[in-house]
Symmetry: C2
Subunit: 191 residues, 2 copies
């Protein structure tokens, strides 16, 4: 997706430790117009798939998934929660995620009410790198007996193993921009 | 907003401790079509105000703010972060919030890059009760030297002091539904 790649080049910041900061338009400040284009692109890529629910994970995934849902007939968005609040009931799917970004292990939680064996799920997230959060989401979908219709990622770090591993497993994984290297702060995309 | 009140009556669940769960359409599963109506309503209520940025707080606020921004000429959304990640740079505004929902104190963080003295901010959030999170957001806006053009809340708990306190302070606070009591699980709205 050229508009996205252009924006990553213009506003993305490469930090030590293979960190790509896109706080300017995706992870802290949100460019909703860009999200609309991202939503349209996901719809194009998954147009043939049967999808009745979008699953994502807080926090940045929520904006992307909510705006994208408008292009999928306003199907419901469910976001996995990272923190346990008083407001979550007991009957939940949980999965443990070892996060690189947050430097710790956390548990993701999805209420059984909002995911079940009739669901055909598009999973959307902002980043895919090692794929730990995605594994947690896939685990939750599997526990629910639901079907994964596709995985839509905004930015994939192609030099990390998550994308290849998930494609080898047979998932229909579509990333709008795949960064193949960030050496010397020069972002190189896969064609 | 009648559509919202109807939905709260139909799908809201009252729990002990004055908790109103709206996980079915706002806080866990998201009804994007309803969010569109909420966005239009906020635009109507703040049509006369000069607004160039929407500020919210993760997680549930993000969906509401992002969809609403489409009705405000796609102005940027900035969401305050609750967790410190490796990806946040040092130059930030912070404020401490004592949360009822999470039963602990947490720090909210906004990068100085995305909020400054030229900003005229609409603050949007899902709930207003005691107003602790809102105080944190207002503190951050004040630190930035920005102006608060308005506060848009989806559900205000009118029997808790946040709303009255903020209106007395002179803020243009608009809540789409004000719950005045939830005794015996019967939700009563203010007219």
């Amino acid at each position: 997706m050229d508009l996205l790649k252009k924006r990553i080049i213009e506003d993305g910041i490469v930090r030590e430790g293979n960190i790509l900061k896109v706080d300017n338009f995706l992870n802290h400040q949100i460019d909703v117009q860009l999200l609309n284009e991202i939503g349209k692109e996901f719809k194009k890529l998954f147009a043939e798939k049967e999808i009745n629910k979008i699953l994502t994970i807080e926090a940045s995934g929520i904006a992307i998934a909510s705006v994208a849902a408008q292009y999928f007939d306003n199907i419901p968005v469910v976001f996995a929660k990272k923190a346990k609040s008083k407001n979550i009931d007991g009957d939940v799917y949980t999965s443990s995620v070892n996060s690189f970004t947050y430097g710790k292990e956390y548990t993701i939680t999805v209420s059984k009410k909002y995911l079940n064996e009739n669901d055909k799920v598009l999973i959307i997230d902002d980043f895919l790198a090692v794929g730990k959060a995605m594994d947690g989401l896939l685990d939750v979908v599997s526990q629910a007996g639901a079907q994964v219709s596709g995985i839509g990622i905004v930015i994939e770090k192609g030099f990390q193993p998550g994308g290849e591993r998930l494609r080898e497993k047979g998932y229909n994984l579509q990333s709008l921009a795949i960064v193949d290297s960030m050496e010397n702060c020069a972002i190189k995309f896969r064609d």
